[in-house]
Symmetry: C2
Subunit: 485 residues, 2 copies
């Protein structure tokens, strides 16, 4: 530890040497270690405290130095005022310090409290030439993304991480308050869930990979990284009224877009004894609004940083989403809206085809930039588990997507086919009867009407914070050709 | 839906047909849907409610039938009393039902409330011949493990899942209450962290695996499933006072024991500005005790099921752990204790060698079956990141393990080497300087003394509930040769 201890002169009125030494001893033994956030909110002026953190700015005047010290507990740093005697060469932007002194009301309007220091120890130096962030630099999210091991030391990304942590807690709180049981659905699975091709496969490193010979697999069968915990939650919806999972999911998508990651977080919920999409939509809207409300009240300062410097105008967008009821239209109505519009789409909207991103964006705009639920998609577009509406001539399934401004699809859900015979017939047609024998058994023994949905957590953060690139919403981004650290 | 609606006779005093029909209509429109737990705790006798769940027992008498209906909201089912007229062939053990009726005080001492039903709908049948669980069967954990898609429908496993969910919430609450920031550390990583060989590797399914050619990797580099989030948390300990992660971790261990899974959950915490193992031990003991206290108060009934039927005597063990301060001994003292004992060990205890499970068990017993922290392990036994104590002649590192009754090692942690030169030298010796260039940079820019630990979540559950086999603590167990569902 590089201890730099100097006497405190200009801030102590008494110049008696003995008094100063006494004060110093007293300080060392009585200083209470507190966090920057608590120091800023403290009402105890005059108390002797110790703050530990990283220097965000250094300003020297003739007699005094002014530091901003941040410890990650809040966006706002603590201003430290000290005699110039305490200044040293290694007291630079980015270095780590222990600061002891007296907490006082700040004469400046910029902060309520400041720390009048009598001791500053540099515990970890930081060479300002080599450090990729500069004291006066305004670094873009794109620039700091190059330094995944250091970007948490910037204001923007430390705010993001506090928001992400709080949003995670808020989501858990929403489900707990509504008596859901949390289930840790597995990451490694032998299902390829939706029959999609974009799966990661798993084997021990150094194994001789021999995908033809079954007995060479570690798990005896091919094993993949999960793309959804839905089927595992459906197991649990056979014993609990409501369950959820919140964890990592994976897509081996070989593309680099602002909207996709190879590893991302999904919130998924499943409700037993649910017979209507309305029940699901109520939960989705409740989850979105409760979580956002929680964020706005617990992370106001951090959210403001994004709305002020990164996505101006997004606060009004968030206000609007919070105030208004989400819209509900059917897929068939959505196609009608698109066909009646004068917009030139790259893909012609047509009943029976998936909505493209351009279509989703138009529909959200058409609905006044308030989120829209689109319900009852063509039966043939939806996976085997979606509940057959048994309607005609336009045959639909009881599925619902939630489209939001800026992002497009945020949530997707459906009622699940709980009727054994209908499910069996559909799986037979797809040649999946054996693979999903266990899934059929769920319908054989005490089957109940049920349904659920998934919400992309990073897309949620993009939507609320107005973050353009999904890579800036996650601590360590994984995408094709990139797995740093 | 198989609706079975019959009139309610023996429980309704009035025999006027008109009154009964009126009552029925009234019931259908006014019945409030509530959960079994809320029904059991309700004080509103006489209210008309609807309960939805699964039948756990059926008992017929001459005039009445008695059902136990469970919906997963509590271990205790709700007793339903109805006229025999409401009995039907498909009202069997395991079937799903909607029950409407009047909530009344139960004349029996076994439950406080019962539901006097006037309508029972079987919504999902359950063929009792094919259903693997039987109405009077006492199925062992080992037996039900064969049915991973159905075992949540047994009392024991639904209790386990409620406890697991509550323990998860309690762990999050502990860290939130202590102002930790939660970090989602990545599952896919290019680190092989501890240089261990037991890693899973990841590539897209159907990819031509060619481990020699770098350009064939999806991520451009070999990518693995994480064995620990520690190094990623250390990144964050350069910007936050305290961080934690709680998620899945992986070991490709080709063994089938009662103590190992290929996919399991770890709680990991990292504290900045931490200079003593005492700080870490305080957090570990606090986490263990606070979580356990929370479980005992919120899941009393579910925990009791385990302590009564599955691990008799474990409640006393838990009481003892909660009451007493955890012991602290050094590794060197532990070796002395082992060498002084009259026990015949398979492996001779020797300074410089790892403690074997038999040694760990002996030490816990020696300490009166109270958890023991063992500190300051031989330097050479610990990974590169453990902080050098710079002592002699017995050269140790500032590492600590927590040993607990029944399980052995529950937590492992250390102070981390924050001194750039010492770390660089050690990494150079191991030839890892290039691989961990980013990790060295953490020490170059504002390094702080820090430390952390990890706790195996399933082992925690094993310890508190007295569960012998780790496979019975996780919703879907993954181990060598087994990845069902």
């Amino acid at each position: 530890m590089m201890a730099v201890t100097l006497l405190w002169r200009s801030l102590v009125t008494s110049r008696l040497c003995g008094y100063i030494i006494l004060t110093k001893r007293l300080y060392s033994s009585t200083a209470k270690r507190i966090r920057v956030r608590d120091a800023l909110n403290s009402l105890e002026t005059g108390s002797i405290i110790k703050v530990q953190g990283w220097v965000r700015s250094v300003r020297s005047q003739k007699h005094n130095i002014f530091l901003h010290v941040s410890d990650g507990s809040s966006l706002q740093p603590l201003q430290v005022v000290a005699s110039s005697d305490l200044n040293t060469r290694d007291l630079t932007f980015g270095c780590a310090v222990d600061v002891t002194g007296r907490l006082e009301k700040s004469p400046s309007k910029k902060q309520s409290m400041e720390l009048q220091a009598n001791r500053i120890d540099v515990v970890g130096e930081c060479n300002p030439v080599d450090f990729p962030f500069k004291i006066k630099g305004h670094h873009s999210l794109e620039y700091i993304r190059q330094f995944p091991h250091l970007r948490c030391r910037t204001n923007a990304f430390s705010s993001l991480l506090r928001i992400r942590s709080q949003a995670t807690a808020a989501i858990h709180a929403y489900f707990r308050d509504n008596n859901y049981v949390q289930i840790h659905t597995p990451v490694i699975t032998s299902n390829d869930c939706e029959g999609a091709g974009e799966l990661f496969q798993v084997e021990p490193a150094g194994n001789e990979w021999n995908l033809d010979k079954e007995n060479h697999h570690f798990f005896s069968v091919p094993a993949y990284l999960t793309v959804s915990g839905q089927l595992h939650l459906e197991v649990m919806a056979g014993a609990f009224p409501a369950v959820y999972t919140f964890g990592p999911t994976f897509r081996a998508e070989n593309s680099q877009t602002r909207r996709h990651l190879a590893e991302f977080y999904m919130v998924e919920a499943e409700l037993a004894f649910t017979e209507s999409l309305k029940d699901l939509m109520k939960v989705m809207e409740g989850l979105f609004k409760t979580t956002t409300e929680n964020l706005l009240s617990h992370c106001a300062e951090d959210v403001e940083l994004f709305h002020k410097y990164i996505s101006p105008g997004n606060m009004e967008q968030v206000d609007l989403m919070m105030k208004r009821n989400f819209n509900v239209i059917s897929y068939t109505e959505a196609i009608d809206i698109l066909n009646r519009s004068s917009e030139q789409f790259t893909f012609k909207p047509e009943w029976g085809c998936d909505l493209q991103t351009e279509h989703e964006k138009y529909i959200v705009q058409h609905c006044g930039n308030v989120p829209v639920f689109v319900t009852d998609y063509p039966y043939e577009l939806k996976p085997f588990y979606a509940r057959d509406n048994q309607d005609q001539p336009q045959h639909t399934a009881a599925a619902v997507d939630l489209l939001v401004p800026g992002v497009g699809e945020l949530c997707g859900g459906s009622l699940r086919e709980e009727r054994l015979e209908l499910l069996r017939t559909r799986l037979e047609k797809a040649g999946l009867n054996d693979t999903y024998a266990w899934y059929l058994q769920l319908r054989e023994f005490g089957s109940v009407p049920h349904g659920g949905f998934g919400m992309g957590f990073e897309r949620y953060l993009q939507c609320v914070l107005g973050i353009d690139n999904i890579k800036d919403t996650i601590p360590f981004a994984r995408f094709s050709h990139s797995c740093v650290l």
